[in-house]
Amino acid sequence: MEKQIETAKPVKPAIMTAKNVDVFYGKNQAIDNVTLDIPENQITALIGPSGCGKSTFLRCFNRMNDTIDICKVSGDIRFAGQDIYDPKVDVVALRARIGMVFQKANPFPKSIYDNVAYGPRIHDLAESKDELTEIVIKSLKRAGLYDEVADRLDDSGTSLSGGQQQRLCIARAIAVDPQIILMDEPCSALDPIATAIIEELMESMKERYTIVIVTHSMAQAARVSQKTGFFHLGKLIEHGDTDKIFTNPDNELTQNYISGRIG
């Protein structure tokens, strides 16, 4: 049965694998034995009711949980075959390869240019000023923002509208050319039009980047993702092709959630 499905659709290799991941906040278990593969150049959506642990799980991928003292992660998470919790791994390198976009747009209180140039600067990606400008413009273009801000790159990033700010954050993440971009409910604070623009953007980004998006909107997951994982109370209840999860889920809990009976 499973084999049939795999042959039915073209299988992409997993760039990121998580095996038996547990996360504890002090004594509270936030993630319970989750195993999930993230296929390359696809959009994987993590859905589930609020407090189900989907954001916590997402933050394991770039070790953002490290900044919280009481948070303990165990299990095996690999990026391109390398254990990301290996002591030899430099978290700076990890986060340069795996970018992140947050729930609330958080541009630095600097100019649009400096926001996007931040990553290339700290990682020394540009040899010259011209090259840096080139990276900034390229990233803004990829984030679909360049045309709107081309003539005011020196304006503060905080002067943009909410949707523009979020795209600026996407451009900022893109600027270091990561392999994966993690998105933590990137549209939850945006209006439907801004959301549509970003969803469209994600679709075009998929060619170049692998995207993992946490969303509370099932409609969004259904619209943008190819793979979906459903979380409930820290457990990954079900995961697979988005089409299948939304049309014919195996698990009753998933069924109930999709149909709006729990949420």
């Binding site: 990026f79 391109a80 390398q82 290996d86 030899k88 390198a93 050319d177």
Partner: protein, 425 residues
């Protein structure tokens, strides 16, 4: 193809080293600041602790009635005023019969403090039975002898350069060998007012001056501060006058303390003709200075009282003032008192404004009320620090120790109040 390795690179290592360095800058900054604090405390403790002991010289004194009370009236005033110098000289002569020349005798007498006479007078007044007897009496040594005893005069220094000469040292050592010198707890320091002689100087006068000033300060600033805070927090409408009061209070907190002193000088002394150099004026000036601190602290306490307590009282039909004074203020009281004590602790350490209103004088008597001339502890420290006599150095440090002890006690009391009365909403 992108670089997917997660291993560190030379550039990253450089950045991590920078990180480590940066973190150490922070640690070093804190360590330096704290080291300075420790250094200052240590320097003052080291210099000041010795002042809590006073060198005493034991002499056999015969309380000769002819000298003390020739009339035999036993009048305390007469007995206190009598000239005890001959008795001390006689006592010294018993130990050093070889010293006969007048100038030498005077020099020898200088081993004993000038206050020695008053000590004897005091003893006789307290216990007239002494007259006619012969007793071994422990008299305060002079400041020079005291410093020598405490090792603060280096005998190896050229004789010309020190006031305690070789001959003094020889006499002193003779007395010491006979067991007639010992160090005792320095009660004078805690029981007397100021004096020109370091060994006779004490902090009691200054302490009382501080106490009376703080009393006045408290009586004025506590009610005023709290009422102002209550008004601004509970009653005042948001309008320009309220804004003005608020801005005004914030700025008043930043006015240099010496300016408050000038205010006191020109308004309270020159205009209202209040008595100069008194805790009354000092207290008023300190109160005006402390007021902003108390208001700001009290307001934040009032703000922390939950709204539902007000709503509950108002809902039962209590008026605004009833609600405020029956419910909100009692709940905020411990916090406001804590803020006031912390403000008072700051006032206790203030010196500059008191200099301006004349609380900077040589005052021997211990003030008995708020209208007696007085100094205060910090002013006394300033005065002693300015004195050329070497003996005042340790006393200045000791006075600082006492002042710091008072400050610590006040702060601990505030912390205790806060812990004890703290409410969790």
């Amino acid at each position: 193809m992108r670089d997917l390795t997660l291993n560190t690179s030379a550039q990253m290592q450089k950045r991590h080293r920078k990180e480590t360095r940066f973190k150490w800058y922070g640690r070093i900054a804190i360590l330096l600041s704290l080291a300075f604090l420790v250094f200052m405390f240590a320097a003052i403790l080291l210099r000041g602790m010795s002042a809590f002991q006073q060198t005493k010289i034991g002499l056999d004194i015969s309380f000769n009635e002819q000298v003390i009370d020739p009339a035999g009236t036993r009048d305390p005033g007469d007995m206190a005023r009598a000239n005890y110098k001959p008795l001390i000289s006689a006592g010294l002569a018993e130990v050093f019969p070889e010293v006969t020349e007048r100038r030498e005798k005077n020099q020898l007498y200088k081993l004993i403090s000038n206050g020695g006479m008053f000590e004897l007078g005091q003893m006789v007044v307290e216990n007239p039975e002494l007259i006619g007897t012969k007793q071994t009496i422990w008299l305060s040594a002079s400041s020079e002898a005291d410093l020598f005893m405490k090792g603060k005069i280096d005998a190896k220094v050229e004789e010309e350069l020190r006031r305690f000469k070789d001959r003094d040292i020889a006499w002193f050592n003779t007395l010491k060998d006979q067991g007639k010198i010992k160090k005792k707890f320095n009660t004078t320091f805690f029981k007397s007012g100021d004096s020109r002689e370091p060994e006779m100087a004490g902090i009691l006068g200054a302490a009382f001056g501080s106490f009376f000033s703080l009393l006045v300060c408290f009586v004025i600033s506590f009610p005023l501060g709290i009422l102002t805070a209550v008004y601004l927090e509970e009653f005042a409408k948001k309008n320009r006058i309220t804004d003005l009061i608020e801005v005004n209070i914030n700025n008043l907190a930043a006015v240099p303390s010496i300016v408050f002193g000038l205010l006191g000088l020109s308004i309270f002394l020159n205009f209202f003709n209040l008595p100069r150099s008194t805790p009354l004026v000092g207290g008023i000036v300190l109160a005006l200075m402390t007021l902003p601190t108390i208001i700001i602290a009290s307001r934040s306490i009032l703000r922390s009282v939950p709204q539902n307590i007000r709503d509950a009282a108002l809902g039962l039909g209590a008026s605004k003032t009833q609600t405020t004074f029956h419910h909100v203020v009692p709940l905020a009281m411990p916090g406001m008192l804590t803020g006031t004590i912390l403000g008072m602790a700051r006032a206790l350490g203030e010196t500059a404004p008191l200099l301006m209103i004349g609380m900077v004088a040589f005052i021997v008597d211990i003030p008995k009320g708020i209208t007696d001339v007085a100094t205060s502890l910090p002013v006394q420290i300033f005065l002693w620090a300015d004195s050329p006599e070497k003996g005042f150095v340790e006393r200045t440090s000791a006075a600082i120790i006492v002042l710091l002890v008072f400050l610590v006690l006040m702060n601990l009391f505030a912390v205790y109040l806060r812990r004890r009365m703290e409410r969790r909403w």
